[in-house]
């Protein structure tokens, strides 16, 4: 429902799109603008669209205010702020009619279209008035100035902006004052130049964000790792994963040093590459530490060999993949869910992995903890598949609850256990299935009890961890590994059902597609189509996935990749007769999927004469 420029203003239900240049400090202003709305109690989300370079290229930031609490990306924009000469014409062209455009005066946009309301602001001239600032700071302040303009036009509470600045500058009053000055210059200029201006978009106080936090998924993962007692991280920088580890470092510096000695209860190792990262993580996990790495697609590819070792030698490890657009280097600063097939079967030979699929920042937090527990319980690499949208964008959330469960350190024989075994005339055998759940017992290096040691290898081994090439011994271990994987189905986070149980169609999605799906469900419901939505939260699939598919004649699998990767994994796992029900909604242009795309994709296939879409232009692709 695009809000038209009518008499009744659109309150708390529109998007602001800010086009700037990266490296110009627009990040701060964008955050202050977003926080101002948030602090006014209005649900809000912010998506940063930035280039894969450091300075000088176009960047966009979209803030969505939604009284309904929709925090997914919207494609439509109501208020456009043009600060970047390079993209201004294109940005303006994409604006629907009757919207508002604020622009930097030299861009002279007002004569390009007549169907928009323009606000021309001479930002540079305005901030020139502020004394004692260098060129770089001037640029920053010009950006802050646009916040003032927007505040005045949209009815924002400047006190909240000041609070946001205080937060940003950690209470340092000087920069806050300076920025408030720039902000007020914007306010004053609008009041003076456009005294009667009335834009049809307003932010009004609500009470929907009280007590909430704003956080990105990488920070949420970092907090999760911190609370999970992660003690060794080996990593190699890569966008969009780096900030996860960097956030962990910041947190750990504060919360993970021994109060007496000041010494660290964690080690963060910047490795020379991703092969080394995973090698370090595996041996640390093998030696008993809770160890993890974080990377993105190219790093995952480099980890393929070691991942297979971890699977076969049964070594715990947590591997976060903050997915970006592939293939290859692809678009490092765009989002996609296209590493599923790679991760599910990573490495040569018969390997299959456990993977968790957080769909919210809350789950980034909780699933990092699950991941460590599962890695140690199942003695295997556990992947956490986040993505750039989830990981690097700002999401509103309830504060994370303190964990209620103790660490699950899995089946580890202590010295005493080994001694007991020996006393009972038994022997520790590393790869024996003692409880018939496929999970063997392990010991840790430095175990001083005789008979407690074993030799770990990626080559053929029998149940006592001895080298073997005997067919039956090899196969016995492989069959147990398959059994272990089956056990995992009941241990991993279960899928989450929304809507239903009676519904016309089913929707399956996962990860960052979650919020757009929720919004699309409302849209479909408005069209009279009742939906039930199962959100996958892990590989391997829980049996409820099968039950869900069996309940619905058609199930739409929404995913952000070209090759319908999750659908392929579902087909591989589900009974064949159920697979006929599955249909694909694909979105893979690098921007987060949005509700309209899902809504339209499903509607198109649900109307009686089905329209089969082929190699159409960009956007979302529906396929049967």
């Amino acid at each position: 429902m695009p809000s038209e420029n009518s008499q009744t203003p659109n309150v708390n239900d529109f998007s602001i799109h800010v086009a700037t240049i990266n490296g110009s400090g627009s990040q701060t202003s964008n955050n202050v603008l977003m926080r101002t709305i948030f602090q006014m109690g209005v649900p809000v989300s912010g998506k940063n669209l930035f280039p894969s370079n450091i300075q000088g290229l176009p960047t966009w930031f979209t803030i969505r205010a939604s009284k309904h609490g929709y925090i997914a990306r919207r494609k439509e924009v109501e208020v456009l702020v043009c600060m970047n000469p390079e993209t201004a014409l294109d940005d303006l062209k994409a604006l629907p009619p009757n919207r508002v455009c604020i622009y930097d005066a030299p861009l002279k946009l007002s004569n390009k279209r007549t169907d928009c309301t323009f606000f021309e602001i001479p930002f540079a001239r305005l901030v020139a008035e502020i004394p004692e600032t260098d060129a770089r700071l001037k640029k920053l302040l010009a950006n802050m100035c646009y916040v003032g303009v927007a505040a005045e036009l949209l009815g924002l509470d400047l006190a909240e902006s000041e609070k946001a600045l205080m937060k940003h500058f950690k209470g340092k009053t000087k920069p806050v004052a300076l920025n408030m000055k720039a902000l007020n210059l914007g306010v004053d200029y609008v009041r003076k130049t456009y005294p009667k201006a009335q834009v049809p978009y307003r932010i009004e106080r609500m009470n929907a964000t009280g007590g909430k936090i704003i956080v990105d998924g990488n920070m949420a993962c970092a907090i999760g790792a911190l609370m999970a007692g992660c003690s060794v991280i080996a990593w190699y920088p890569i966008t969009p994963s780096s900030s996860l580890v960097e956030s962990f470092i910041d947190l750990a510096k504060k919360y993970r040093h021994d109060p007496q000695t000041g010494k660290a209860t964690y080690a963060v190792i910047q490795a020379e590459d991703e092969l080394a990262s995973l090698g370090m993580v595996l041996s640390a996990g093998w030696a008993g530490a809770r160890a993890m790495t974080s990377t993105s697609g190219p790093g995952i590819s480099l980890m393929a060999e070691f991942a297979g070792f971890g699977y076969y030698a049964e070594v715990p490890a947590v591997i976060v993949d903050v997915q970006r657009v592939g293939p290859s280097t692809g678009l490092p600063t765009r989002t996609q869910q296209a590493d599923l097939l790679e991760v599910a079967y990573l490495s040569h030979g018969d390997t299959k992995h456990i993977a968790l699929l957080p769909g919210t920042v809350e789950e980034c937090y909780s699933m990092m903890q699950d991941a460590f527990d599962l890695a140690e319980r199942f003695q295997t690499p556990v992947f956490v598949l986040s993505d750039l949208d989830l990981g690097m964008n700002n999401w509103m959330a309830d504060p994370f609850p303190y964990p209620t469960k103790d660490f699950d350190r899995g089946k580890v024989y202590t010295d005493a256990d080994i001694e007991k075994l020996r006393a009972a005339g038994k022997k520790f055998e590393r790869y024996r299935d003692v409880e018939s759940d496929g999970i063997p017992w392990r010991t840790l290096p430095g175990n001083p009890e005789e008979g407690g040691s074993y030799f770990t290898r990626g080559s053929g081994h029998d149940e006592a961890a001895r080298y073997t090439e005997r067919p039956e011994e090899y196969q016995r271990v492989m069959d147990r590994l398959a059994r272990k994987y089956e056990t995992a189905r009941e241990w991993v986070p279960k899928p989450e059902l929304t809507g239903g149980p009676v519904a016309d169609i089913g929707i399956i999605a996962f990860g960052s597609s979650h919020t757009p799906v929720l919004e699309a469900m409302d849209q479909l419901s408005a069209d009279g189509i009742r939906t039930a939505y199962l959100r996958l939260r892990a590989l391997p699939f829980h049996r409820s996935v099968q039950e869900f598919v069996a309940l619905h004649p058609r199930v739409y699998v929404v995913e952000q990749n070209r090759d319908a990767q999750m659908l392929k994994l579902l087909k591989a796992d589900l009974p064949a007769e159920l697979c006929t029900r599955l249909r694909s909604i694909l979105h893979y242009d690098g921007l987060p999927v949005y509700a309209d795309a899902i809504h339209e994709g499903i509607k198109r296939m649900e109307v009686p004469q089905r329209v089969v879409s082929g190699g159409k232009g960009p956007g979302t692709r529906g396929e049967e």
């Binding site: 920070m219 080996a234 190792i269 080394a276 041996s283 030696a287 175990n447 001083p448 074993y454």
Partner: protein, 350 residues
């Protein structure tokens, strides 16, 4: 036939922990009889036995190759991890971080270290990860049947006749260049020197590189090979005679003739006594180390002994400022911040 690495020693001899040599042995070797690697295994057993390291406090790491199999043949009471080709250094690094109390010994081959693993080797040294890093260097890939590795000397011949035209990667030269604090070269057949160097390495706090020429009798022991037993024997130039005085046994029965020796103290107080041979060699002089390697390389010689020693650099675990206890042993109470901490973090995000 498979050979046993360890001829039984007289049963009575015990070390300072009251352990016999038996406690330091491992599984039966499956290498070719006569393989240099088996001799190195025997000296590792001997050195750990004599130094009196508790085998249960050792971790063994290795890559892939005939050489990398050997950790299964010594210190059977220690945990070992034998992973993938060329990535042993990352294992050592992770194991160190997780459990700083364990003594780490890594065994690798020249292919494992100088071909596929060269990057990790260099970075391990740069970090100064505490590990005894043994390169069982035969100039070829034994396990894949004798192709040249990157340490094959220029001009050396392949079994099939092909001549190598590339200069070797000199692991010692490289280690010195990268600032490694313990760089030694030896020969698998020079038992005494090898054992002494291993003992010295046990006392070192940081990366100790031992590049040991270890002939592959099956694929690289022919007359035109520069890594054969014969060639190595003929061209070995020991820098010095080496003896170790352990810190726990300062009155060791070493006879020192004044003026002919040089003493170097190791990290934990043990001492190396170097008896000079041709010329007086100072292993703490980096420039001399580099030059000696270079000179012997040009002369087609094969220099053995303790090439370079610097005990001043901090090991990687020290650089990480870790708590004294192994991270692996910390209880949940020390790993999970308390509710106040989480509240604080949440507040900062509000």
């Amino acid at each position: 036939m498979a050979t046993t690495v360890t001829p039984k020693p007289p049963a009575e001899k015990k070390n300072r922990l009251g352990l016999t040599r038996e406690a330091y042995t491992g599984g039966k070797s499956t290498l070719c009889s006569g393989c240099g690697h088996d001799s190195i295994t025997a000296q590792i057993i001997q050195a750990f036995f004599e130094t009196g390291v508790d085998p249960k406090n050792v971790v063994k790491v290795s890559g892939i190759g005939c050489s990398s199999k050997t950790p299964a043949y010594f210190l059977g009471q220690a945990h070992g991890i034998n992973a993938v080709h060329g990535r042993m250094p990352s294992l050592a690094t992770g194991a160190n971080a997780a459990n700083r109390k364990l003594k780490c010994i890594g065994v690798s081959g020249d292919g494992d270290t100088a071909s596929i693993g060269l990057g990790q080797f260099c970075h391990l040294i740069r970090r100064n990860v505490e590990v005894i890093y043994i390169i069982e260097n035969n100039g070829v890939y034994g396990l894949t049947k004798g192709q040249f590795s990157a340490t094959a000397d220029m001009g050396t011949a392949h079994k099939k006749g092909e001549i190598n035209e590339m200069p070797p990667v000199d692991c010692c030269g490289l280690a010195v260049e990268l600032g490694c604090g313990f760089v030694a070269r030896s020969f698998s057949a020079d038992f005494k020197q090898l054992k002494a160097l291993l003992e010295a390495a046990i006392h070192h706090n940081g990366t100790a590189v031992l590049d040991v020429v270890s002939p592959c009798v099956t694929f690289n022991n022919h007359p035109a090979s520069t890594k054969s037993y014969k060639y190595s024997k003929d061209h070995e130039i020991p820098l010095h005679d080496i003896d170790i005085i352990p810190h726990f046994e300062p009155q060791a029965e070493i006879h020192i003739e004044p003026g002919t020796t040089r003493e170097v103290e190791l990290y934990d107080g043990a001492k190396i006594v170097l008896k000079k041979l041709e010329e007086d060699y100072d292993p703490t002089n980096r420039a001399q180390a580099t030059q000696s390697i270079e000179r012997s390389r040009q002369a087609g010689q094969f220099l053995t002994g303790l090439i370079y020693l610097d005990t001043a650099r901090r090991s990687y675990v020290d650089q990480l400022h870790l708590v004294d206890e192994p991270l692996a042993n910390l209880p949940q109470s020390r790993l999970r911040p308390d509710p106040k901490a989480l509240d604080e973090i949440m507040d900062s995000l509000k």
